[in-house]
């Protein structure tokens, strides 16, 4: 069974939607990071980060319905709405649809707001709406409620492997015919606490391009019952592998590597040529979803996007028209996530 990416909904510092991501990748759009001031050991450090823009959400959902929606869920709603719109369908047509969201840190800003509520005023004055919105699956719930999607609804969270993990189950839901379509995506938000933590953890690493960020990308997946040639690409394979024990999936194809900006995977035991776009939209767990979105655009456009030279990656490789692209994401515990996309145009369909 082949699975088709019918629509994509990227959002981040570059804007919102496939066109905005493509403009960024093509070099037609330049984005400068915000600067967060992080106090550490009595000194103020300036930490650059890429801030997502979310203003387009009101194109899809009336503002009055968004009053109690936090930033994390706002981004998820926007990504989901964009993917549905990009696929050319209406939410009303998604009766037999599942929702899967991947997030590394969840609604961290709201989580800290909840802690503020009882640290400031005592346990008895904890704010319930902060608590209910801090739960990791709140974003999926808001998508279900506001877009009227009432199929299975799942949220997964395992840091950098969250996105491959979500795709893994999305593919399985389609294969077992649990649903006809899956709205799957990754989303993460930046906040100063996460910034403080990541800056501290990265201190001492030679990672000039490892700028923090936020945003994500959603996808509307379906079985290719509609016939080949629809949508962006086929989702050929999703796997999680330990490269120390299992060969990394066929990497004879172009590779997009979510690598924290650390020399595009060097140091992770990965020595093949690769592309990395971290320096364009930032590094965060759900950026792996934007990597997959970039791969979809490459396959659809039959052209690879070369990353800026300053990322330090080997960019003098990968000639030809990409028919297959492998998105790799190194994770904790020596596991890698691997999402393989391939062209689904009729003349390239394999028997």
């Amino acid at each position: 069974m082949r699975i088709s990416v019918q629509g994509i909904g990227p959002l981040g510092c570059f804007g919102a939607g496939a066109g905005d991501l493509e403009a960024l990748l093509a070099g037609d759009r330049v984005v400068h990071p915000e600067i967060a001031r992080v106090e550490r050991d009595g000194n103020i450090h300036e930490q650059p980060w890429f801030k997502a823009t979310t203003s387009r959400l009101e194109e899809f959902i009336p503002r009055k319905k968004l009053r109690r929606i936090d930033r994390f869920s706002t981004m998820a709603l926007l990504g989901a709405s964009l993917a549905i719109s990009d696929a050319g369908v209406s939410p009303d047509d998604l009766e037999n649809t599942g929702i899967i969201i991947a997030t590394g840190y969840g609604a961290s800003g709201t989580t800290f707001s909840f802690l503020d509520s009882f640290l400031n005023k005592g346990d008895r004055l904890s704010v319930p709406t902060h608590f209910s919105n801090s739960v990791h699956n709140a974003a999926a719930a808001h998508i279900s409620v506001l877009l009227g999607i009432k199929g299975p609804c799942l949220t997964v969270s395992q840091f950098d492997l969250s996105v491959p993990s979500a795709f893994f189950t999305a593919v399985n839901w389609l294969r077992e015919e649990r649903v006809a379509t899956v709205l799957v995506g990754g989303v993460d938000e930046f906040n100063p606490v996460v910034g403080y933590a990541t800056a501290g953890l990265n201190a001492g690493c030679s990672s000039p391009s490892a700028i923090a960020g936020e945003g994500g990308c959603f996808f509307l997946l379906s079985r290719e019952d509609a016939g080949p040639g629809t949508g962006y690409a086929s989702l050929a394979k999703v796997d999680m592998v330990d490269p120390g024990k299992t060969p990394v999936p066929d990497n004879s194809h172009p590779v997009i590597l979510g690598s924290q900006g650390y020399g595009a995977g060097k140091g992770h035991g990965f020595n093949h040529s690769s592309l990395s776009y971290d320096s364009l939209y930032g590094h965060f767990p759900a950026a792996a979803a934007i990597d997959v979105g970039a791969a979809c655009l490459s396959i659809k456009n039959k052209a690879l996007f070369m990353p800026p030279q300053e990322t330090g990656v080997d960019s003098n490789m990968i000639p030809g028209v990409p028919e297959t692209i492998l998105c790799l994401k190194p994770g904790n515990n020596n596991l890698w996530g691997a999402v393989t996309l391939e062209s689904n145009t009729p003349d390239q369909e394999t028997p």
Partner: protein, 403 residues
Amino acid sequence: MIKPAKKTVITGIGCLSGAGATLADNMDALFNRVRHLGPPKLFTTDHAHRFPVFEVPGEVDESTEGTGPGLTRTTRTTRLALAAAREAVARSGLTQRDFSAVKTGVCIGTSTGSSLNSIQFYDDYRSQRSPGLSPVRRYLSSNPAACIAERYGLTGPVQTVVNACSSGTDALGIASSWIEQGLCDIVIAGGADELTRVTYNGFISLMITDHEPSRPFDATRNGLNLGEGAGIMVLESEQHARTNGRVSLGSILGYGMACDGHHLVAPHPKGLGLKKAIDHALAFSRVPREAVAFVNAHGTGTRDNDRVESMVLADLLPGVPFGSTKGCTGHTLGAAGALEAAFTVACLNEHRMPPSVGFTEKAEEMPASPVTETMALKGNVAISQSLAFGGNNSVLVLEGKGE
């Protein structure tokens, strides 16, 4: 839906909760109506009422042979998961070599186990005290599924489900589908959650916590008691287990899941999502409704949850006995569904179900009431169901080992 290529059997079960340190201890507590609840000892609060909880007593010992790097400083949630996994793996008779020989995955549900919510770290941060990063490193090295994979050297898929209170049910359902679809030969799956001041304050702030022992489905019910624990199962394809001479303790026949799309924290008033999830689970299982011997309900003791569950069960499964085990364990959040699935299988294998502790008085608004005494079971198939924040409804159809 397509017919599964393989059947999922259960070859190991491990449980840890306020009711006991093993599955056997938990079952004893359920059938003997034992309730070990009291004010929280794991943390301090300034609530006027010390809302009672079901804590796992003392430090959780997860030490065992084969401890992997990075596991010495894990969160309590992960230690709970590892302790239950140890019991489940021991019961299965599987060794690390067995796991390595085939594709073995891990799928664990949790709620607090994936939240960066260290109160001390955050308080120091906001007070500009430049906190050290040990809590962050512990958080990053404590993903429950990843830690189990590391402990047992697993090379298959790894997934941590964060679907609030249905996480444990969902993890088992997803793991079962991995086996049915041939993606794994073995999966270690279940749920785990620790009790923290964050969830304690959160549920109290929502005004759904009882300051007395909870009374699921009772007319006087006034909320839930929180708990903590872990329930872990070793799942295998029937063929793999049989080929290797392992004893099946039961099976996961099917899994259904549907979202209400109604409200963030309240179930749909007519239980539409729950009905859909039950129907889907039975359809995936190819089990008729009349074959269901009993239902392990979510049964939290909150006004809305119990009313909706009672209504749905009376409508879809009239006359089928049901009960809640949360009167003995408390609501263990991400662990609840896995613990209760384990209890359900154990009940099928004992051919009896326990009384629904806390229930004494029928509620007028509820068309069906839980069992009040230990009841002999007729049949070898049961349902375990979970309702969650976000409107999630998740249902497992489980089978006992049979005669």
